[in-house]
């Protein structure tokens, strides 16, 4: 990893965190409703976005995201203003026009299929885009993410099973971001095995784990497994261990977890870069402050944009023939 990339990742981390913290504030004020997002997953989600290949059509990657992939979207090039638009449910929200919760992306030009609130259903849609990619040829892959608790749904099994159906093995990178909780339920209360990744074995699938709070480990692992999926046109099941720095969502308060209870991957990365003399804490704080400012500015702008009208609910029910 070269210096530029290291700093770029830090920058994206800052943007991502400031964006999410802006959203959280919105959820606590009159500027937004429900919040959920990915603080604690940046060290993994940003490399994921940087290594992915967004674009339209089968030559590019397809994305079936969980609701904590804001940092991935930023790394792919999303304007944070768009996220703020969705949180503020403006008509200008490019993903859903003010219809859906924040972090519920849908971007046709990037093959980001609509994020659904139903846990784990994305897991069984993903084999569909991957089958199309396999037939098409090239090295486009399908990337799908989920949480740890959601793997209890039958759909977890179904996704892995379809991606390994003989003759239909297809290029899906299955990613579990394990933050040790489903809302309030600890991992150990509902899973009998230490790792979820090893479930892949039952399907004859390659699998592995990574420390998702470690930028370099995540980047390297993702590079490796993406290369495998792109080339072999076969699925891979990756479990990334991450943290959940603001709890589950605004429903559970969206407050920062107590100091020391969970690792902050930005702090970890920052310390590393300071040690490597790539940045100083002061410079970081400067950047962070500026980014906070920028987010406030973006919100101020977004609030001037039009609201969706009541009548608009009848638009886009069907594509006109």
């Amino acid at each position: 990893m070269d210096k530029a990339l290291k700093l770029k990742i830090l920058d994206l981390m800052i943007t991502s965190r400031c964006m999410e913290e802006r959203l959280i504030k919105m959820s606590k004020s009159a500027d937004g409703f429900f919040w959920l997002g990915g603080p604690g997953e940046e060290a993994f989600n940003i490399p994921l976005g940087l290594l992915a290949r967004p674009g339209q059509g089968l030559d590019y990657d397809y994305f079936h995201f969980h609701y904590r992939n804001g940092a991935t979207m930023l790394a792919m090039g999303m304007d944070p203003k768009d996220e703020i638009r969705q949180m503020n449910n403006r008509a200008t929200d490019p993903f859903s026009g003010g219809r859906n919760f924040c972090n519920h992306y849908a971007r046709y030009e990037w093959n980001v299929v609509p994020v659904t609130s139903t846990i784990q259903t994305q897991w069984l849609v993903a084999p569909g885009t991957a089958r199309a990619q396999k037939r098409h040829g090239g090295d486009g892959i399908t990337i799908v993410t989920c949480g740890d608790a959601g793997t209890a749904e039958g759909d977890f099994h179904i996704g892995l099973n379809w991606a390994t159906q003989p003759g239909h093995e297809s290029p899906v990178l299955f990613i579990i971001t394990n933050n040790q909780y489903g809302i309030s339920t600890p991992y150990e209360q509902v899973h009998g095995t230490r790792t979820l990744a090893s479930m892949g074995a039952g399907y004859g699938m390659e699998y592995g784990e990574v420390d998702g709070t470690d930028v370099e480990a995540s980047y390297a692992k993702l590079q490796e497994v993406m290369a495998y999926v792109r080339k072999e046109r076969k699925p891979f099941l990756l479990e990334a261990h991450v943290t959940r720095l603001y709890g589950h969502s605004s429903s559970s308060g969206a407050n920062r977890v107590p100091e020391g209870s969970e690792q902050d991957p930005i702090e970890t990365w920052l310390k590393k870069l300071i040690k490597q003399k790539l940045i100083t804490r002061e410079a970081y704080e400067e950047k962070f402050k500026a980014e906070v400012q920028r987010m406030n500015q973006l919100l101020a702008e977004v609030k001037q944009e039009p609201e969706p009208t009541g009548d608009s609910i009848y638009q886009h029910i069907f594509k006109e023939v």
Partner: protein
């Protein structure tokens, strides 16, 4: 004449050759069987899926999102009930993405009773299906309509639920499908896969088999939202679909003879969006209406039609309208006594017609 199974098969063949159908899949849909009801025999893009309805709908949605044109099958409509959340998602994906993604997906599944299907192979699905926004829903009663509606379904850029009736799947049509050979033995020779006493025989017989598709098949379409007036009449309107079109006809014929009642029978064909104009015009003319289907009666799709009719024609109705539907019981029992008591039979229809027609305004 072609059966409905043959008609669907020919439409799917036309679809994969000319309309961009990429994947026809589901349980036992591909070789060697080509569908438990033979609807997908000999199709070049047909293949077997895992035994898993959720996976089928999910994969079809993924294919559609990736620009493919899938036709998936749920082997029996009875086995679609574990996918309702997915059907909701399929139905809301265009809307949720403010029109960014198109979902050109056809889901075909066979419904209803009438084949001694017992508790779990006799379900109707139209009531729940019609309650899921974002889908167009069809339920043809004849082979030619099945052909024309499958072509329309494939051409539509939206999700289409193609329901077809178990009881009519093997019934021959009375109208030639454009391009269908006139001699039905010839059609059989051309497109029905050879069969045998066991799966082993079938696999052997089909090793070298290839269908010989009729040359002249066209993109004959039955447009969505257009009902068919099966017979005109002046005393009462019967709004129905699927198997009950024929049962209504039988009842009406009898009452024509014995009571001189002239019934207008409407085959709805498309359940969403349904043909309000044809229905309302008929009800305005006759002033009396029977809505007929075999789904269970509480929150039944016929009650929606009923509400719309009463709402639109309240002051023109000369007798109170009726819904005749299945019995409010947890299943259709296997013994014919049980099935007959659960599903409207011809004599129940006669009784209902008589009751409505004998009501004095």
């Amino acid at each position: 004449m072609a059966t409905m199974a043959q008609a669907i098969r020919m439409a799917l063949h036309y679809g994969e050759e000319n309309l961009g159908v990429t994947d026809i899949f589901g349980e036992d849909v591909g070789p060697p069987l080509g569908g438990v009801f033979t609807c997908t025999q000999g199709l070049k893009t047909a293949y077997n899926s895992p035994l898993d309805e959720r996976g089928i709908i999910g994969c079809a949605l993924g294919l559609a999102l990736a620009g493919q044109r899938p036709v998936c099958e749920i082997q029996f409509g009875d086995y679609i009930f574990n996918t309702i959340d997915l059907l909701k998602i399929v139905g809301n994906s265009h809307w949720a993405s403010i029109g960014q993604f198109e979902i050109p997906l056809v889901c075909m599944t066979i419904v209803g009773a009438g084949i001694h299907g017992s508790i779990y192979h006799s379900h109707s699905f139209e009531s729940i299906a019609s309650h899921i926004p974002g889908w167009k829903i069809v339920l043809p009663s004849t082979p030619i309509d099945a052909y024309g509606m499958m072509i329309s379904a494939i051409k539509d850029p939206n999700p289409v639920m193609f329901l077809y009736p178990k009881a009519l799947i093997r019934v021959k049509g009375t109208e030639l499908i454009p391009g269908e050979p006139e001699d039905e033995k010839e059609l059989h020779r051309m497109i029905d896969a050879p069969t045998g006493p066991t799966l082993y025989h079938i696999m052997e017989a089909r090793k070298s088999w290839k269908p010989e598709w009729p040359k002249g098949l066209t993109d004959y379409q039955v447009p969505f939202g257009k009902a068919k007036i099966v017979q005109e009449g002046s005393d009462i309107t019967i709004v129905t679909y699927a198997r009950h079109v024929f049962m209504a006809k039988e009842a009406a014929d009898k009452l024509k003879q014995t009571e001189g009642i002239s019934a207008e029978i409407i085959d709805l064909r498309t359940l969403y969006p349904w043909d309000r104009e044809t229905v309302m015009n008929s009800v305005r003319k006759t002033g009396r209406v029977l809505i007929l289907n075999e789904d269970t009666p509480v929150t039944n799709f016929g009650e929606h039609i009923y509400r719309e009719i009463v709402d639109t024609c309240f002051y023109e109705l000369v007798a109170k309208p009726r819904v005749l539907a299945g019995a409010d019981v947890p299943g259709v029992g296997l013994h014919p006594n049980l099935e007959f008591a659960s599903i409207p039979q011809v004599q129940d229809i006669e009784k209902a017609i008589l009751a409505i027609c004998s009501e004095k305004p």
